[in-house]
């Protein structure tokens, strides 16, 4: 079997003596859509923060493309193609929609501050490239009509799409979506589902965290996290039949 894109081995973490993750082990295969469900406080976001480098795990290892992530910073992980979104969409509120997407493109080019201060041809060329990529990104995600509005004026659904667009223009290899359906209406969740499938077909591997069982049906494998432990894994149908999951979610 091919090496997984992301592999977690025995990952554990605690906050102030309270254990939030206990020896979590699973793989995210290249090209897959992997889901992570679990009630509030089950450790999903902590796991995300560990994978993306916001928190260092107290135990276990995270391997990405065959190399341990270890002390890699958030930025290094991002440059290697590991990009996340947030539970509460984090748009750059005072910037326009287009500018938000442009920020997502900045990591693909390199200028030094000196070049930017002096507006050298290289600096101008890169800015033009960033703008073109961002415009194409807006077009693709249906944000063109909104592009000159400040991001602060967007609805929750539009913010979600903007956040995903901003992540995707940076050409991620592994896209980590944290509760992407929260605050969205039924139609918007449907659109979101379509986007996840489409992006995955283009070769982006997706790790999806949610407690929305409906959205989770896009995932090929779903792991259920409960009080920091994986209690069940499999496709969504199997998960829904699992007695422990039913107990946790439905209280039966």
């Amino acid at each position: 079997m091919a090496e997984p894109l992301l592999a977690l081995r025995e990952v554990g973490h605690s906050f102030g003596g309270l254990s939030v993750l206990r020896s979590v082990t699973f793989d995210v295969p290249e090209g897959g859509i992997i889901g992570l469900i679990g009630p509030n406080g089950s450790g999903k976001t902590t796991l995300f923060n560990i994978v993306t480098g916001y928190i260092r795990p107290l135990a276990g290892t995270v391997t990405y493309r065959g190399a341990a992530l270890g002390r890699d910073t958030i930025q290094q992980r991002g440059l290697n193609g590991l990009v996340r979104t947030f539970q509460t969409p984090q748009v750059f509120e005072q910037m326009t929609v287009l500018e938000n997407v442009m920020v997502g493109c900045t990591k693909l080019t390199r200028t030094t501050m000196l070049q930017d201060l002096l507006r050298t041809p290289a600096s101008r060329g890169q800015m033009r490239e960033i703008r073109e990529r961002a415009e194409a990104g807006c077009e693709r995600f249906g944000l063109t009509a909104l592009r000159d509005l400040p991001a602060a004026s967007l609805t929750a659904g539009q913010r979600r799409i903007l956040e995903i667009a901003r992540a995707v223009v940076g050409e991620p290899r592994l896209l980590l979506l944290d509760e992407p359906s929260s605050g969205l209406n039924v139609q918007e969740i449907d659109d979101l589902r379509d986007w996840i499938v489409r992006l995955n077909e283009e070769g982006i591997t997706v790790l999806l965290v949610s407690h929305d069982m409906g959205l989770m049906t896009v995932a090929r494998t779903v792991h259920t996290l409960y009080f920091g432990e994986i209690i069940a894994s499999g496709d969504m149908a199997a998960i829904q039949r699992d007695p422990r999951v039913r107990e946790v979610y439905l209280g039966v």
Partner: protein, 318 residues
């Protein structure tokens, strides 16, 4: 550029060129200070408006520039350009060395950190009298001589200072309008999300702090050659605060706003001083009024007013 802005630009240029010859000498002097304060304020504006950083240490770099110019020209007899360069290099190195650790702080703590830097520097300027002359200061700093033109009057120095100020404004504009500018603003709006998009917050903040220090030092050197005498009282924490006021009053995200802010802090106290002892209270009230009533500064408030009028006009036609 819009065709409509060109005549305005030409008019502005004519007014700018004529100004030092039509106003009284003391006003020409104030206009020189406006130019110097614009240079110092630009750096703080970049930090405040584009990085969300409150810098209360600009008097430190202003002082370094001024003392470097004073020491190099008066004590060592070197050409003035050396003073400018020495001040700039020392300021940038200091900004880098101090910026690395203190720029890890955020919000109020960072503001306090920069305030502490200004307080320490101000004490050192006083204590190291072998270098700075202490309270007696260093006098006899020569007037600048640019390609054989001796800039010995405010009306002459005015042009030099403002050409430097415009060049700095152009550089600041370049930065804001570049890839770096995008990254800075994203960091100001959400540092968490900026990090997720691979933006190295720490490195960026340090670099902008260094640019800010460069502007501060440049302004300090310009100041030293203008007044020909520098002493500790020009580089106190009070001065850092009045530098911070420049972008706060004018509008931190706007580059022309810095000029407006610099005009405010140079002209208003002078004009109010004619009213006698209450002038400081009046200046304080004006300051509070701007900050409370126009949170986006004078330029921001003007912009809002203009959109409101534009809307009204549009409504009238329809």
């Amino acid at each position: 550029m819009k065709p409509r802005t060109l005549p305005w630009l030409a008019l502005g240029l004519v007014v700018w060129a004529a100004l030092p010859f039509i106003v009284p000498r003391y006003m020409a002097d104030l206009l020189v200070f406006t130019g110097i304060y614009t240079v110092a304020g630009l750096g703080i504006g970049l930090l405040l408006g584009h990085c969300g950083i409150v810098n209360l240490a600009q008097a430190t770099f202003y002082g370094l520039g001024a003392y470097a110019s004073a020491y190099c020209t008066v004590m060592m007899g070197l050409p003035s350009i050396v003073g400018f360069i020495v001040g700039a290099v020392i300021s940038m190195v200091l900004a880098y060395v101090i910026g690395r650790p203190i720029l890890r702080l955020t919000g109020y703590f960072l503001a306090l950190g920069t305030l502490a830097l200004s307080a320490i520097a101000s004490a050192l300027f006083f204590e190291w009298d072998w270098l700075t002359g202490g309270t007696l200061g260093i006098g006899g700093i020569p007037k600048l001589d640019v390609f054989g033109f001796l800039l010995d009057r405010p009306s002459r120095y005015y042009f030099f200072v403002w050409i430097v100020a415009f060049a700095c404004m152009a550089v600041a504009h370049n930065l804001v309008d570049s890839r770096t500018g995008l990254m800075l603003r994203s960091m100001r709006d959400s540092s968490t999300a900026a990090a997720a998009l691979s933006i190295d917050l720490q490195a960026l903040r340090t670099k902008v702090f260094v640019v800010c220090a460069l502007f501060g030092s440049l302004a300090g050197s310009l100041f030293a050659h203008h007044v020909s005498f520098v002493s500790t009282q020009s580089f106190t924490v009070d001065r850092s605060i009045s530098f911070l006021l420049i972008p706060v009053i004018g509008g931190a995200t706007s580059i022309p706003g810095i000029v407006v802010g610099a005009l405010f802090v140079t002209f208003l106290p002078e004009l109010l001083s004619k009213l006698g002892d209450i002038h400081q209270i009046l200046f304080g009230l004006a300051l509070v009024a701007v900050v409370v009533l126009m949170p986006e500064g004078l330029v921001g408030a003007f912009g809002k007013l203009r959109t409101r009028f534009a809307k009204r006009e549009g409504g009238g036609h329809g």
